[in-house]
């Protein structure tokens, strides 16, 4: 493996600006790595070599001409989740219904990346329409976890996190509706951040559940995530739910945290997220991480958030309800898959045939759940009640954040499970998002940072911050990361097994 693929994004950017290495060499090293290992990992659905090299060349030209860097990440390669629109490339959302569809416009996140000189390598695999926790629901085959190829890389953004853990890219973009950034981050030993809802534009993000979806940065190091966070965040008039407020100072917070001092920081341990269902190895790694935070000077307190127990059922009413409406547009009339258009079927029948053939089982399950929950006579009992739970969860957060600066929990109750292990048991699958869902329902910021291994598999520490206080979580994560690496003799991600390389 080229050493260039082991570097952090921050290191690459500095080397490119210092002309120690060209952006083209960096991009090529990653493209070579993808060619060598992605047959086994299947993190990518689409790789655009020419375009990536051209983008890298443009950065090199800027450097050569002495022009200032477009951003602190100019020339750094990135893997983009296939749920974000990018002109000139397919956007499939892991679904047959959008196979080969090319959007005629860029998502705001994509536009910000391109303007920042970030080199987009390609689009990553995901659970169909981001519905899933294992990437097994992709219509184009599962992604495998580089820590153990028989295991899932989490989901829905398993492709993005696996690309990081396989050193195919130093940066990735994910989207998090119920944990789709943080849970894959946790099970792949990488950093995943769900920013405050409304701080990263959803324009061009193909909607699963509009009131919950949020794009965010994925990386192998906390600083890299923060640098990427500042590139993609910011007010966007094209997204009505976008918040017109300054981007939280996350990079500065990481630099502050990296000094290793957490004195005066109050950390609340969510008591509801422990006990039955939490693997002992996960609990042990989590407990050790809490001790580490205490050693750094943080004040540790237990905090109860009783409504969090209701988060999972509420989520499985709200998200499918919105999804049932958001996914109605895939009807074969204007774009995408079209089945049955042979002159013998009505438009209505073509819609039906296309949707029957184009959507996978999990997507259909959620469309049916959502359709039912919104039906006349059921709305109040289901969707209406779920919205009330949402309010209760926000109140729990408010009460908790009145006492502590951040809340912590394991990111997910278990380490990566085996491919196929939970496909027949949706409830077991849904439980993977138990700890991550509350922050989606409340809209506050949350991230996952690796906090050790259990039986050789990564465990994640979730750090939750109040809305627009994303920097608090980054500060704690950076302090923890530095202490962890010092104690363990290097980044956790470097302990990922070598993948078999094909030529």
């Amino acid at each position: 493996m080229s050493e260039l693929t082991r570097l952090t994004a921050a290191e690459i950017a500095v080397k490119v600006q210092a002309r120690e290495v060209s952006a083209v060499e960096v991009a090529q090293a990653h493209l070579d790595r993808i060619a060598a290992v992605d047959h086994a990992v299947h993190a990518f659905l689409h790789v655009d070599t020419e375009r990536a090299l051209a983008a890298a060349k443009a950065v090199d030209d800027d450097v050569a001409a002495g022009r200032p860097a477009a951003s602190p990440l100019a020339g750094v390669p990135l893997a983009l989740k296939d749920v974000l629109a990018m002109q000139g490339a397919p956007t499939t959302c892991g679904s047959k219904v959008l196979e080969n569809w090319q959007p005629p416009y860029d998502a705001t996140v994509t536009q910000r990346l391109l303007r920042a000189g970030v080199v987009v390598l390609g689009k990553t695999n995901m659970d169909e329409f981001a519905m899933g926790s294992s990437t097994e629901n992709s219509a184009f085959g599962p992604t495998r976890n580089p820590w153990d190829l028989d295991r899932i890389p989490g989901g829905s953004g398993g492709g993005s996190s696996a690309a990081l853990a396989a050193f195919e890219a130093p940066l990735a973009i994910g989207t998090d509706t119920g944990g789709s950034i943080r849970q894959p981050g946790s099970v792949t030993g990488t950093v995943g951040v769900k920013p405050t809802y409304g701080t990263v534009s959803r324009y061009g993000l193909v909607a699963f559940s509009s009131s919950l979806d949020q794009a965010g940065p994925c990386a192998r190091a906390v600083l890299d995530a923060a640098l990427l966070h500042e590139v993609i965040a910011g007010y966007d008039p094209l997204d009505s739910t976008s918040i017109d407020a300054p981007v939280p100072p996350v990079v500065a917070a990481v630099r502050e945290g990296a000094t290793g001092d957490l004195k005066g920081v109050r950390v609340g341990v969510v008591t509801e997220f422990a006990g039955d269902g939490y693997e002992p190895g996960v609990t042990a790694a989590f407990t050790a991480a809490i001790e580490q935070l205490r050693d750094l000077g943080a004040e540790i307190v237990e905090v109860s958030c009783p409504s969090f127990d209701l988060a999972l059922p509420a989520y499985y009413l709200i998200a499918p309800s919105e999804a049932s409406s958001n996914l109605a547009r895939f009807d074969a009339m204007r774009y995408g898959l079209r089945i049955g258009d042979d002159g013998t079927h009505s438009a209505e029948e073509v819609m039906s045939l296309t949707r029957a053939a184009g959507f996978g089982a999990e997507v259909k399950r959620r469309i049916m759940l959502g359709t039912y929950a919104l039906s006349a006579g059921y709305y109040d009992a289901y969707y209406g009640s779920a919205q009330k739970v949402r309010t209760l969860i926000m109140r729990d957060f408010d009460a908790a954040f009145a006492k502590v600066d951040v809340l912590v929990s394991p990111t997910t109750p278990t380490t990566a499970f085996k491919i196929g292990e939970r496909t027949a048991d949706p409830m077991a699958m849904y439980r993977a998002d138990l700890c991550t869902i509350p922050s989606n329902l409340a809209g506050n910021a949350a991230l996952s940072v690796p906090c050790g291994l259990s039986d050789g598999l990564p465990v994640g520490l979730q750090i939750m911050s109040p809305a627009l206080q994303d920097h608090r979580g980054y500060r704690v994560a950076a302090a923890y990361e530095a202490a962890r690496d010092a104690a363990q003799g290097g980044p956790l991600i470097h302990r990922v097994p070598e993948l078999e390389v094909s030529r």
């Binding site: 974000l84 956007t91 959007p103 416009y105 193909v206 009807d331 204007r334 006349a376």
Partner: protein
Amino acid sequence: MTTPELMDYAEVVDRFDPVLGLEVHVELSTATKMFCGCPTAFGGEPNTQVCPTCLGLPGSLPVVNAVAVESAIRIGLALNCEIAEWCRFARKNYFYPDMPKNFQTSQYDEPIAFNGWLDVTLDDGEVVRVEVERAHMEEDTGKSLHVGGATGRIHGAEHSLLDYNRAGVPLIEIVTKTITGTGARAPEVARAYVSTLRDLLKALDVSDVRMDQGSLRCDANVSLMPSGTTVFGTRTETKNVNSLRSVERAVRYEMTRQAAVLASGGSILQETRHFEEASGTTRGGRRKETSEDYRYFPEPDLVPIAPARDWVEELRGTLPEPPAERRRRVQAEWSLTDLELRDLVNAGALDLVAATVAAGAPPADARSWWVSYLAQQANNRGVELTELPITPTQVARVIALVTDGSLTNKLAREVVDGVLADEGDPDQVVATRGLKVVSDDSALTAAVDEALAAQPDVAVKIRDGKHAAAGAIVGAVMKATNGQADAKRVRQLILDRCGA
């Protein structure tokens, strides 16, 4: 299909009380669509006024058009509604190919305006107060064109074409409360309501309100209950009512049809019916087995709208004089009879006359030009009065030229013809056509002398005091001057020359 039996109208209103509910959709004349920046202009090449948002492409998001919200509030205020302190959009979910997202972004239980009323004056001056349930914002759908098949409808068509130019155009839906107690006048009330609403919207300058182009559409809900009872019957909703006359006809037809069904022991099917302009009848649609469940829920892609109270009051200050009040005022100021006022309104000339008066013309002259000669010209050309290529300012100038004696009425009509023929302003037409009245007495005197010399016998009669004989000389002088002389002045000169 057999034509259903109809009950005689007099019997209908004797035996039943009609209940009406009117839903009017108004396309706003904002420059851009409800949730994106695409233009709203009518009649563009299909699918040229579209973007990712109004095509519902994956990942696209809506942004509310602030001008549309402003128009909605002004409409609500003009309809004497309360304006919501806080309201939301909702998604109305159903599948149809001309709806790009397969949901319509609309308002459901939180309309921007509610609880209003509109006073409607009937032909005989009776005023009926129609209560308004709500006015809410939504987006229009695209248009389907069904090709092949006999009817132009989806059933039997070979294929269908979709035009999304209209998709996302801002609509305001105005819904009345049930209108009861109007008896035999129900059809007239329906027409008068839509007509009054149209005038109001026009005065607000928020819509083209062209029923023929679909920028104002009316759905008429009609039901009957036996006279003297209070429990509403099953209603039908009639669509495709594309003119004021059709509103009246559709309601009347439904009353006679439903009455016949009920009288024969049948029951009314709750359904959507289609008005047939040519026959003046309504036709049942395809029947649905179950009623549609739209699964409304708050639109998560948009934030709530909370119009600030001072903004609402500011908008209230921009409301035009209500049309009914304006008419009363104009009638008094211009000293019009009821009949004259009605002719003026029916001719669609009120605004034009007002503008002509504003340009300096006396009201009587302004009214006379617009409702007679110009109305005739519009009629000949088959256009609306407003579409004639002459402005109120130009008409006022013509009137001024007549008043100061520069033009006779006959010459003035020629000048107007010139303006309508695109020959320029009235003064230019006068100059190029040489239409000015000959007011030079020496030139006229010469012409008079010439005429008297040509008809010596007549000259003798006049000198003998037979003044009536002067008419023949006047005619000759007018002929000699190509009609450009003031006949009164000519007559005076003749009498002077004859010493009479």
